[in-house]
Structures are given as structure tokens and as C-alpha cells.
């Protein structure tokens, strides 16, 4: 029993530590002592400036980063399970690009920084993601089967198409180009608690629903035929998981831009650590995604301080070699 809960305890500690690190580090360093006093509410007069930075800027940024990482880690694990491919990732199959296209289209039409202006962006991203995932699905499908190779190829093609359209839209709407590029590279430039309030219901719904599918995803690893012979409604399960994972990805993309490789790296680390049981892999990937993106975000703010890098650059720099390593590893041995 203790062995079962130990990973959760460890990852929770890692999450708390990375949140603390994330709020402490920035253009103004907040010493751990002050951090503690703000959190516990002691002597607020002495450190009002620190308190303001923390609650109005740093904390919402950290929470947004953590939520984004959680969404990408969870949906990455789900895509890998559904497509039975260790390299499946919201990017590889085009969902993120589709979501990005939807979001940019919504921004191109109007870029008002209001609540409803913000709320429309994830909706448009979701539509973009769904459109992509089902186009890819339809293209890759042969009869009642869905060969993985077809799926990945269709994903790459649609992804290239969506990315081209996104670039086109961004070039047309000249004014906000810099901001859109920064957003697209995964710099969560939008500050404050507003985006979080909008993001939270999407993610709570999406990630919560995803957690119900752990056992079903285990069965899918044995192939459609065996899964069905063991009593699983394969088509329904796959459609539902794709819908939910796309919703989750879209919500994350809408507010944090296109951040690559989290959905690839995190489930792999967890799988190497704890094995392939998706009942554990899904929640651990969600929590692990939050931890890894928080750390990447800290690096993005520290490496070239005082300038802040978009976090997508950091994850891509660390993630691409990891991707190649997995590619080699899956060729040589089957830990998958």
C-alpha cells in the first residue's frame, strides 16, 4: 500500500517545490523568508511590494504554467495510449497546430483583452483542434481500422497546413505580430487571474474525464481485437478519449501557446519510472507535466535574465534530443 502511494507523495512534493521556485525567481528575487511570510500572512506591511508581485503577477503566472503543463502531460499520455505510439504527442498528430490556428483566427478577428474576448479564444482553439483531429482521423482511417502510420503521416501533413495558415493569418494582421509570435512560441504573456478562471473549468472537466479511462487505455495496448474480446467498446472509447484530450490540449494552447515536447517527455519519464499501467500513468503524467513545465519556465526566465525566453524554446531545446533518444531506444528494445 505504501509503495502505491509513494510516487504520488514524491511528485506532490516536487510540485510544491517547483511552484515555490517559480514564484521566488524573477526580475525581483523574493527571498524564501519573505515568501514564507506572505504565504502565512505575517507582517504584510513590511513586504507589500513583494506581496503584490507574488499575488498579482508571479502566482497567476506559475499557476497558469502548472495548469498548462498538466494539460499537456495528461493529453500526451492519452494520445500515446490511443495511438499505441510512443512518439504520439499533441504536436505530432497536428492537434496543437490546429488549436493554434483556431486561436490565431479568433485573435485575428478581434484581439480585445476583455473577459469575453479571452473566453472566445479557447473555444476557437477547441474547434480548431477538433477539426484537425477528425480530419486526421478521417484521412488515416481505412474501413474500420486506424493504422498508426497513416495517422502520424496525416497528422504531419495537416499540421504543416495549419501552421502555414497560421503564419498567413499572422502576417495579415500586422499590428499584433510580435505578441502573437511570442504567444505561439509558448510565452504566456497574458497575466493575472482572468485567464486562469477561464482555463480552469476546461481543464478540470478534461483531465477529470481522462482519469476515468486508465483501465480502458491499458486494454487498448493489446490491440483493438483483444480489447474488444475483453469487453471494451473500442470505437467509443477511442473517440471519447480523442475528444477529451483535444479539448484539454486546445485549452492549454489557447492561453499558453504552442509548447512542444512536454506531452512527449513527461509520460515517458513516468513510464520508465513506474511502468505502463495507465491508471497510474495518467494522473502521474498530469502532475509531472506541471512540475516539468514549471522548471522549464524558471529556466526560461533565468538563462538570459533579465530577458525572458518563451518557454517553448526551452522545452524544444531539451525535448528534441529526448525525442531522438526515444526514437533510437524504441528501435532497439521494447520497453514500450
Amino acid at each position: 500500500m505504501r509503495r502505491r502511494f509513494l510516487p504520488y507523495i514524491l511528485i506532490f512534493i516536487a510540485l510544491v517545490l517547483s511552484v515555490l521556485l517559480s514564484v521566488a525567481i524573477g526580475s525581483v528575487f523574493i527571498p524564501p523568508g519573505d515568501l514564507w511570510r506572505v504565504i502565512t500572512g505575517q507582517s504584510p506591511r513590511i513586504i507589500t511590494q513583494a506581496a503584490f508581485i507574488l499575488t498579482a503577477i508571479r502566482l497567476p503566472h506559475s499557476v497558469l504554467t502548472a495548469l498548462t503543463g498538466a494539460a499537456l502531460g495528461g493529453s500526451g499520455a492519452a494520445y500515446q495510449a490511443v495511438f499505441k505510439n510512443p512518439l504520439a504527442d499533441p504536436y505530432l498528430i497536428g492537434v496543437a497546430s490546429g488549436a493554434g490556428l483556431g486561436a490565431v483566427a479568433a485573435m485575428a478577428i478581434s484581439w480585445p483583452y476583455t473577459f469575453w474576448g479571452l473566453a472566445a479564444v479557447p473555444l476557437a482553439a477547441f474547434l480548431g483542434a477538433l477539426l484537425t483531429v477528425f480530419t486526421v482521423y478521417a484521412l488515416a482511417r481505412i474501413g474500420k481500422t486506424l493504422p498508426t502510420t497513416n495517422l502520424i503521416l496525416a497528422g504531419v501533413a495537416i499540421s504543416a497546413f495549419a501552421t502555414a495558415l497560421t503564419s498567413f493569418l499572422m502576417l495579415r494582421s500586422s499590428g499584433e505580430l510580435h505578441r502573437a509570435i511570442a504567444w505561439l512560441l509558448g510565452g504566456s504573456s497574458q497575466a493575472g487571474w482572468g485567464p486562469i478562471m477561464i482555463l480552469l473549468p476546461y481543464l478540470a472537466l478534461g483531465l477529470g474525464a481522462l482519469l476515468l479511462f486508465g483501465h480502458a487505455l491499458n486494454l487498448l495496448q493489446f490491440g483493438d481485437e483483444q480489447a474488444q474480446q475483453l469487453g471494451l467498446n473500442v470505437t467509443r472509447t477511442r473517440t471519447l478519449v480523442l475528444l477529451i484530450a483535444s479539448l484539454t490540449t486546445a485549452a492549454a494552447v489557447a492561453f499558453s501557446g504552442v509548447i512542444g515536447f512536454i506531452g512527449l517527455i513527461v509520460p515517458h519519464i513516468i513510464r520508465m519510472w513506474l511502468g505502463v499501467d495507465y491508471r497510474r500513468l495518467l494522473p502521474m503524467s498530469i502532475l509531472g507535466g506541471a512540475v516539468v513545465l514549471l522548471i522549464a519556465d524558471v529556466l526560461a526566465r533565468v538563462v538570459l535574465a533579465p530577458q525572458e525566453l518563451p518557454v517553448g524554446i526551452v522545452t524544444a531545446l531539451a525535448g528534441a534530443p529526448f525525442f531522438l533518444w526515444i526514437l533510437r531506444k524504441t528501435k532497439s528494445q521494447g520497453y514500450w
Binding site: 491499458n218 475483453l230 514500450w336
Partner: protein, 260 residues
Amino acid sequence: MLKIENLCVAYGKRLILNCVCLEVSSGKVTALIGPNGAGKSTLVKSVSGVVPILSGSVWTNGKDLSSLHSMQRARLLAVVPQAVSMPPAYTVWETVLMGRTPYLNFLGQTSLRDDDLTRCALERVDALALAGRRMGELSGGEQQRILLARALAQSTPILLLDEPTAHLDLQYQVNLLETVHDLAYNDGLAVLIALHDLNLAARFADQVALLVEGEIRARGTPRQVLRPNLISEAYHLPVQVVRHPFLDVPLVLPGAGDED
């Protein structure tokens, strides 16, 4: 008992099974033999609901299997597939526990009873010692036994096996079929097993059905079906059938007799 009535299955416009009728009795082993491409695997897949049926029906205890949900069907009928391309990273215990799927709630939570049945299934195939190993570390023969255990964990009255001995060494083939035979005789399961080895079918089956080009050409006891003329015609190969030197079963040998 499993009753297959006028079963027709087509891939696209090609008819794979043409009006197949077959009864698989409880407590008996029925072997399905026939050359490659005759439709043996398709028959197993269509009965288990993986391949859609064109016409005909599959009955068990007065229920039409094709009208059931996959979960209801999985409580009546378990399938042992060929152990090819298994996900290597699940442990033996996790794999066999998946046989309990049709009885789990929507969270996939297992109970103590599920653990007990998993343990029994592993003991039954003599593989309890392997419980902690990963599937990828096992030999083909061991993997096949684990898949049989998973089917047993499903606790179904009907067991279907799709060429389970295809890639196994001789001792594993005999081992597995002895277990299967025992499951029919002692546990009263209705067993349908697709086999490519005619002599294993002769030795372990009570009833043999010969499937050729999607049609049942003959069925009956091994002695009735394993006749030189029937087998020669089905496999396009001259064969001799002799009596097994020690057991009271026929033995099929390829090759034409010089005396004829």
C-alpha cells in the same frame, strides 16, 4: 454450448465464410482444421464479435451473441489469440487481471475476488511463479499460457482459441492442449480451437470440423473427418492415414503410398 447457424462473413465483396453451421458442445473440445486462408481465424473473430457478420447468427443459451454489447459478450465467451505483438511492458499479473474487465466498474477498480480469480487462472496454467515478470521477458510458450490464463480469468462458459500452438515447441503444444482438454472435461467449458496440426486435432479433439474455402466440408469424430480422401482434397496433397501406434486415434502422414 455454442451454436453457429448459417454464418456468412465477407471482407468487402469477397465471401470468406459461406453459410457455416457448427455446434460446439459443453464439456467437449471441437477442433477447427483446414488449410491456410480457409477462414479459421475469421470464424473465431466473427463469433467473438470482432469481425462483422453478413448474415446468420451465433447462439448460446438462447441468446444471440451478435445482439449483445461487447461487455456482455465477454462474460459469455473468451478468446485466446495468438501471442504475437503483445505489449511487452505489462506484468503477467496485470495482463491476466485484464481478463476481469467485463466485471469491473467504470473506474476499472479490481476487487479481492478479481485477485483470487486471477491467482486461480495462473495456477491453472501452472504460471503463478511468473506473476511478477514482464510479458516481454517470457518465451512464446509462456506468453501463450498467460493468454490462456487471461481467458480463464474471464470466467466464461465458452472458450475460443485461434491457433494457440502455431509458434510453439512440441512440448509446449502438448502441454497447452492437455490443459485445454482438461478445461473441457473437468470444468465443462465449450471449447472451439482452430488448429493447423492435424495430428494434435486427432489426439485432443472430440469433434473435428474441416473448413475449406469458407465452407464446412466435413465434421464428426477425428476418425470420421481425418480420412485420406477428404484431407487430400482439402490440402491438395496426397496423404496417408494410419493408426497411431499407442493411442486409439488416426495419424495423418503426407505423401502418396507406393502400393496404390
